[in-house]
Symmetry: C2
Subunit: 281 residues, 2 copies
C-alpha cells in the first residue's frame, strides 16, 4: 500500500491507473478507522481493480464549538487496518493544501440539507459536499463507498453527483453495529463506560419504530412519541432530533408510506451520536 499526501502525487498515480484502464474504488474517511470503514474498503476491493482510501479530518465540516480539535486520530493504526482490508493507496492530504490561500469555492445542496443533521449543524453539509467534490476530482473513482450510518450525508452526496453530472457511482453499505446494536463511529471513543451502555438506546428506539410500523402504525407522530419516551427514559440521553422523512427530499412525513428514513440524534454529555434505519411499507 502506498501512502501519499501531496495533491500532485495523487494526480500522477491516478493518471497511471487510468491509463491502464483499471477501475478505481474510493472510500473517503476522517480516519480512526473502525469495522464500518473496513467493510467499505473490503467491498471496494471486491468491486474494483484499485482501492483508494482518503483520511482527512475536514475543518470545513465542523462548526464553531464542535470537536474538530479533539477528533480522534491514529494514522499508524489506520495504515495497518487499511492495508489489511485491501487499500492500495492511502491519501492523507494536508488542510493547507486542500484549502489554499484565497480559497473561495463551495458546493451546496439545497433542501435535503435543511433538516436532520443540517438543522443541528449549520454549515456541516456545505463542508461535506465541498470536500467530497474535491476528493472526487482528485481521485476520479468509478465507485465511491459510504456507510448508511450517515444516511443524510450519503443521500446529499448522491444528489450532488446526479446534479453536477459527476461520472461515478455512489454505493451505500449497511451500518456496522456493536453487539448491543450501537452503530460503529469514531466518536464512540468519547463515551464514558456508563454513557457507552446508555448509547444503545439509539438503536433500541429505531427497532421500536420498526416494530410499530411493521405492526401497521402509519402515524409518524405516534411512532416518534414512542421513540421519544424510550430515549427520555434513559438517564444521560439528551434528544437532539428524531424524525421520519422521505428518502428523496428528506422532508418530514406525517403518514408513513413508501420508503422512509427514521433518523435520530442523541447527545451524551458533549458527545453527539446519530443512527437511522430505512423502512418500507
Amino acid at each position: 500500500m502506498q501512502v501519499v499526501g501531496e495533491l500532485r502525487s495523487i494526480r500522477e498515480i491516478i493518471g497511471e491507473i487510468k491509463k491502464r484502464e483499471m477501475t478505481i474504488g474510493f472510500v473517503p474517511t476522517m480516519g480512526f478507522l473502525h469495522e464500518g470503514h473496513l467493510s467499505l474498503i473490503r467491498r471496494a476491493k471486491e468491486e474494483n481493480d484499485f482501492v483508494v482510501v482518503s483520511i482527512f479530518v475536514n475543518p470545513l465540516q465542523f462548526g464553531v464549538g464542535e470537536d474538530f480539535e479533539q477528533y480522534p486520530r491514529d494514522l499508524e493504526r489506520d495504515k495497518e487496518l487499511a492495508a489489511a482490508a485491501g487499500c492500495d493507496l492511502l491519501f492523507v492530504p494536508a488542510a493547507k493544501d486542500m484549502y489554499q490561500r484565497g480559497y473561495a469555492t463551495f458546493v451546496d445542496v439545497d433542501r435535503l440539507t435543511e433538516g436532520l443533521c443540517g438543522a443541528s449543524r449549520p454549515g456541516h453539509f456545505r463542508g461535506v459536499t465541498t470536500v467530497v467534490n474535491k476528493l472526487f476530482n482528485l481521485v476520479s473513482p468509478h465507485r465511491a463507498y459510504f456507510g448508511q450510518k450517515d444516511a443524510q450525508q450519503a443521500l446529499v452526496l448522491q444528489r450532488m453527483i446526479r446534479d453536477l453530472n459527476m461520472d461515478l457511482e455512489l454505493i451505500i453499505l449497511p451500518t456496522i453495529r456493536e453487539s448491543d446494536g450501537l452503530a460503529m463511529s469514531s466518536r464512540n471513543k468519547y463515551l464514558s463506560s456508563v454513557e457507552r451502555k446508555e448509547a444503545s438506546v439509539l438503536y433500541r428506539s429505531l427497532r421500536l419504530a420498526r416494530e410499530l410500523i411493521d405492526r401497521g402504525e402509519k402515524d409518524a407522530l405516534i411512532v416518534k412519541k414512542s421513540m421519544e419516551d424510550l430515549i427520555r427514559s434513559t438517564r444521560g440521553a439528551v434528544l437532539d432530533y428524531l424524525e421520519i422523512v422521505d428518502t428523496d427530499e428528506l422532508k418530514p412525513l406525517e403518514s408513513i408510506n413508501g420508503k422512509c428514513l427514521v433518523a435520530v440524534a442523541v447527545k451524551f454529555g458533549a458527545t453527539r451520536l446519530i443512527d437511522n434505519i430505512f423502512v418500507e411499507v
Copy 2:
C-alpha cells in the same frame, strides 16, 4: 461534425475519445456564434486532438427581467460556423435534462463574484459556475477556452477549477473587436444603428484609461473620473459600473499598481454591454 443533445450520448462519445488517449479542447458557449467564439474554437483545434463546443442558453445565469427569452438563437448557422472553425462535436443539451426534477446543487465562488457584474446581476455567477462545473464533468476536457471579454467570468472559473481540484487548464484568449473597437458579443444584435455607433464608447473609455495609466497616472479615482466623463458625454449611454480591480480577488484599487483589470458596463436602452482591459504597471 457530430451534433448531440442527450447527456448519455456525450458521455459515451467522450468515453471513446478518452480510451483513444486523445486530448479534448472545450469551448462552452450560449450560441449565436461570432468571431470571438470562432477564435476560441480555432485555438482549441490547434492545441487538442478533439474539440467539443457546447451551446446552452443557461436559464440559471439569467436574472428576473433579464434577456433569457430574447437571447438570440440560430442553431443552423451555429452548426455551420462551428464545423468550419474545427469543432468535432457540438453538444446542445436541453434545459430539462441539465436541470432535472428535484435539482438542488449549486457551486458558488465567494468574494470574486461580489463586485462588477456580480453586483449588477445577483445570482448570475452562481448560474455560470454551476453550469460550467456540470459541463466540465460531462465533457472532461483537458483544456477549456474562454474569451477575455467576460474577464470576471474567466477569473471566477479559474478560481473554481483550482479550488475544486478540477483536472483541466483554463485558457483565456483576447477579446475580438469590431473595426471601431466594440467587443464582439451576441448581444450587439440588440443595438439600434444609433446605439451601435455610440457603443464604441466602452472601448474608447478603456483606451483612455490605458493612455492615462501609461502616462504615469496611479490614482484610480482620476482615471475612473476621466472614463466616466467620456461615457456620460455619450447621448444614449447609461453607466452601469466602471471599476479598476486587482486580478486576484477583483477588489477595487485606489492606487494602480501591478496587474489590474479595468472593467466597464454600460447600458444602451435595455441592452447592457461589458468590456475590459488588463493593464500592468
